[in-house]
């Protein structure tokens, strides 16, 4: 792809501007990446979609069969290096594949759990023997993988897990005792990555546990709201004998593995939401073009067009920010390798570097999808409530995305917490820009005529969003000091502002890059998307900013900041109604998501 073209550090987007040439956009996929995506799409269409109903009845044999077929096609080994029987594809390619698989309802969950959290811990943290033993089987689907971190009393607070491991008297085994729950793929997996604390260690350790381990037991299939076709169970360890050589990574360092894998799982989840959203949009536009009321197709109604357009916009934005971050991760990994870092370590460090963006993608993508499936049901009216329709399943299946891979609340804490941590560590300077904004607040506003250039104006808007964040968060930090972390409502707000800003910037950079590839006629619809999204964001930023300021500021400071937030979120008027109509009309004309 690219050679050492690191744009920014993770989180640095808040204080540094990026050029459109420095971001990757989905319109730049290679011929090979497109072909891989097509194969994934065809596999889902031919093999998975005709079977989703049956899968939802907990038909695990069918699920295993489909996973094996995916394995035979090589789809389970996309990220696994060739030396272990995989195809050694880069990060963005794996994301693109996952996007297509994301249209496959529960199958997508089984696939993502296997290829991501089930396989990658061994790839990145396993020793040579462990890799040789497990990876070729995981890459081909001979083995199916699962990941067991959550416990009945340790969900978001994962390190509080009670599962214990003690060394056997002969020193050959770790004896595991405890319970894990919500384990995806539990009923079909051959290998589990299991976290437990050895003796009285403060932190977790990770183990590779095979399903035929004595003392390892499976619970019943959970009856869930959605993703019913994915196998989810509790697993129990009753003096389970796990060979000592199956300790994964170092003792007491398992929590680090867990965090790394979570970061990875988060951006991957965003990838899957893009596909799921496009799927739901396609079902919806198809229905809106067939369903007649009051003598006309419902696609002709403005109320429906508004929904269709907004579904497209949020999906387009998720796509813009997710692939931008994915390419950042890939470039960072390449750069670290070129600097001489071992390749597994480089992969780990690259994803850690972009943990903030991964959390943003997870939260934004899962919430965008929830909006999309909700309106998809609404467009279908009464039929949307019928289990006969795919959107009913999409609606139920979507909901888990805001919960697993760290709840969206935990992820919002991560977005802000990570940023502050890096600022404190001196990885970049947040203080000076925050002080400059505070100074600007006291100075007389610049009434000078700004640029009239379309993209320059949009860049200025994004720059102002960043100032708004620095102003609000900077003042809140100053006010609360150490107690800031207790102010979760404010943290949630700051996270939302960061997320919206990153989303707007990513969309802006994509459309700006497209302006160099497309003629004005073709570009117009993308400018509509950017116009509507950035306009809406400005007003959202204003409301969130005001709420946050009122939560802690008083007197002159409050007044100054309220004026500041107004100034920093000032946006030119946009006729969002007409812009949305144009977006919806293109969707209706094409008949499927084709942006």
């Amino acid at each position: 792809m690219s050679n050492n073209k690191r744009a920014l550090k993770g989180g640095e987007f808040l204080i540094k501007d990026v050029d459109y040439t420095q971001v990757f956009i989905p319109e730049e996929f290679t011929e090979e990446q497109k072909m891989i995506a097509e194969s994934c799409r065809d596999f889902i269409q031919q093999r998975v979609l005709p079977n989703v109903e049956e899968l939802d009845k907990h038909n695990l044999d069918l699920l295993i069969q489909l996973m094996k077929e995916a394995g035979e096609m090589g789809l389970l080994g996309i990220s696994v290096p060739e030396e272990y029987g995989g195809f050694g594809q880069n990060f963005v390619t794996a994301m693109r594949a996952l996007e297509e698989i994301g249209k496959g309802f529960s199958f997508a969950v089984a696939y993502a759990a296997h290829t991501g959290i089930g396989t990658l811990p061994i790839l990145y943290f396993g020793n040579q023997e462990q890799k040789q033993k497990y990876l070729p089987k995981l890459a081909t689907g001979e083995y199916i993988g699962a990941y067991a971190l959550t416990e009945p009393e340790a969900g978001s607070d994962a390190n509080a897990g009670k599962t214990k491991a003690v060394l056997s008297e002969d020193g050959k085994y770790y004896i595991l005792n405890g319970t894990k729950m919500w384990i995806t793929n539990a009923g079909i997996a051959d290998v589990f990555i299991v976290y437990a604390k050895i003796d009285d260690d403060p932190n977790l350790s990770a183990f590779i546990v095979e399903k035929n381990t004595p003392g390892f037991k499976l619970g019943q299939e959970e009856e869930k709201m959605g993703i019913r076709g994915a196998s989810t169970r509790q697993i129990f360890f009753e003096d389970a004998k796990v060979p000592v050589e199956n300790l994964l990574g170092e003792r007491n360092k398992g929590f680090k593995i867990a965090l790394y894998i979570l970061n990875l799982g988060r951006i991957k989840l965003a990838g899957a939401t893009i596909g799921a959203a496009k799927g739901a949009i396609n079902y919806s536009v198809d229905y809106a073009k067939q369903r007649k009321q009051f003598g006309t197709y419902i696609a002709n109604f403005g109320a429906i067009k508004h929904k269709l357009a907004e579904m497209v916009i949020r999906t387009f934005v998720t796509e813009s920010l997710t692939y931008r971050a994915s390419q950042n991760i890939e470039d960072e990994e390449e750069a670290l390798k070129q600097e001489g870092m071992d390749k597994d370590r480089a992969a780990i460090e690259a994803i850690r570097q972009f943990a903030i963006e991964a959390s943003i993608a997870k939260v934004f993508g899962s919430e965008a999808l929830d909006y999309v499936v909700d309106e998809a049901v609404q467009i279908h009216g009464g039929m949307g409530y019928s289990a006969e329709m795919p959107v009913e399943r999409a609606y139920r299946d979507s909901r888990i995305n805001r919960i697993f891979e760290g709840t969206n609340e935990i992820n919002r804490l991560v977005i802000v917490g990570e940023l502050l941590k890096r600022g404190m560590k001196g990885e970049y300077d947040l203080l000076t820009p925050a002080k400059e904004v505070a100074k600007e607040l006291m100075a007389i506003p610049d009434f000078g005529k700004g640029s009239e250039d379309y993209f320059e104006k949009k860049h200025k808007l994004v720059k102002n969003f960043k100032k708004a964040i620095l102003m609000v968060a900077g003042a809140a930090l100053q006010k609360f000091g150490q107690a800031f972390q207790e102010e979760e409502e404010i943290i949630m707000n700051v996270a939302d502002m960061l997320m919206l800003t990153y989303a707007t910037e990513s969309t802006l950079l994509r459309v700006e890059k497209l302006s160099k590839m497309y003629d004005p006629e073709k570009l117009a619809i993308y400018k509509d998307i950017l116009d509507v999204f950035s306009f809406d964001t400005a007003w959202k930023m204003y409301k969130i900013g005001v709420d946050t300021i009122n939560a802690f500021a008083k007197g002159d400071e409050q007044q100054a900041m309220l004026m500041g937030i107004k100034r920093f979120t000032k946006v030119d008027p946009v006729n969002t109604k007409d812009a949305r109509r144009r977006i919806a009309n293109k969707l209706i004309d094409d008949g499927f998501y084709n942006f």
């Binding site: 011929e31 090979e32 497109k34 072909m35 891989i36 097509e38 194969s39 065809d42 596999f43 031919q46 035979e72 096609m73 090589g74 789809l75 080994g77 996309i78 195809f87 073709k522 004309d589 094409d590 008949g591 499927f592 084709n594």
Partner: protein, 245 residues
């Protein structure tokens, strides 16, 4: 034995067809292997796989400009061993068949497979014309193809049933529905290998087309549909409104 499958580069079947200046507007169009050709290639690859090495090669050929290479690459990813691209824009059935005949005359393929028709201009004639120009047999309406280790056995749909025949090689089989059930999906290995497989670019002879496209017209929008719930209602409508019974 060697099989050649003729493939053509056509707009995705979900394409919304638009015209600009009486020409097909290709803006935003996704291109695919013509579905009939894709099924033909699928069957050819199945036969090769089952033949214990007796079918040693499956190649594809296309008359198209360079921009069609992603479609050719897809055929290679499905498993074709090599490809020929005759470097010109396909204009009509005759010039396409003539360019192919010229390019293939010394290539000694035992079986040439062509999809019944292409989903863009639906000419239905390249396969038969090519056989004629090459002076070899041609079998049409082929819905099944087997290989017994020495010869090809062709199944043809005929009125009220089907017939099976063996044909002397070389021959052209114009294939239709039934030749394969679903098109083969390229697997990861195929995709990775596709970039290393050769696409032989053959300069075109510049055969002039015999047909000139005069005008295009889009079909009229469909009249509204009335959904009928019961048989009685249907009979009533056919009798009283449509007055056909």
């Amino acid at each position: 034995m060697k099989i050649l499958v003729l493939i053509s580069n056509v707009p995705d079947t979900t394409t919304k067809v638009k015209f600009k200046d009486n020409k097909f507007d290709t803006t935003g169009v996704q291109w695919i292997i013509n579905p009939w050709d894709e099924l033909a290639l699928t069957r050819a690859l199945e036969l090769k796989k089952e033949s214990n090495g007796k079918i040693e090669k499956v190649a594809v050929a296309m008359v198209a400009e360079k921009s069609a290479e992603p479609t050719i690459r897809k055929a290679l990813a499905m498993g074709a061993d090599e490809a020929y691209r005759i470097d010109t824009t396909a204009k009509d059935s005759y010039s396409t068949a003539a360019e192919l005949a010229e390019a293939l005359k010394d290539k000694d393929f035992d079986l040439i497979m062509a999809g019944l028709e292409s989903s863009d201009y639906n000419g239905l004639s390249v396969g038969a014309m090519l056989a004629e120009l090459l002076g070899i047999n041609s079998v049409s309406a082929v819905s099944g193809l087997e290989f017994d280790g020495e010869k090809f056995i062709v199944k043809r749909d005929i009125e009220g049933g089907y017939e099976k025949l063996t044909v002397q090689t070389p021959f052209v089989a114009v294939v239709q529905k039934g030749i394969a059930i679903v098109p083969l999906i390229p697997n990861m290995r195929g995709i990775m290998m596709a970039k290393r497989k050769p696409i032989h670019v053959i300069p075109a002879k510049g055969v002039e087309p015999l047909i000139e496209m005069v005008e295009f017209e889009l079909p009229k929008p469909k009249p509204p549909v009335k959904l009928v719930e019961t048989a009685e209602e249907l009979i009533n409508l056919l009798h009283n409104e449509a007055k056909v019974i």
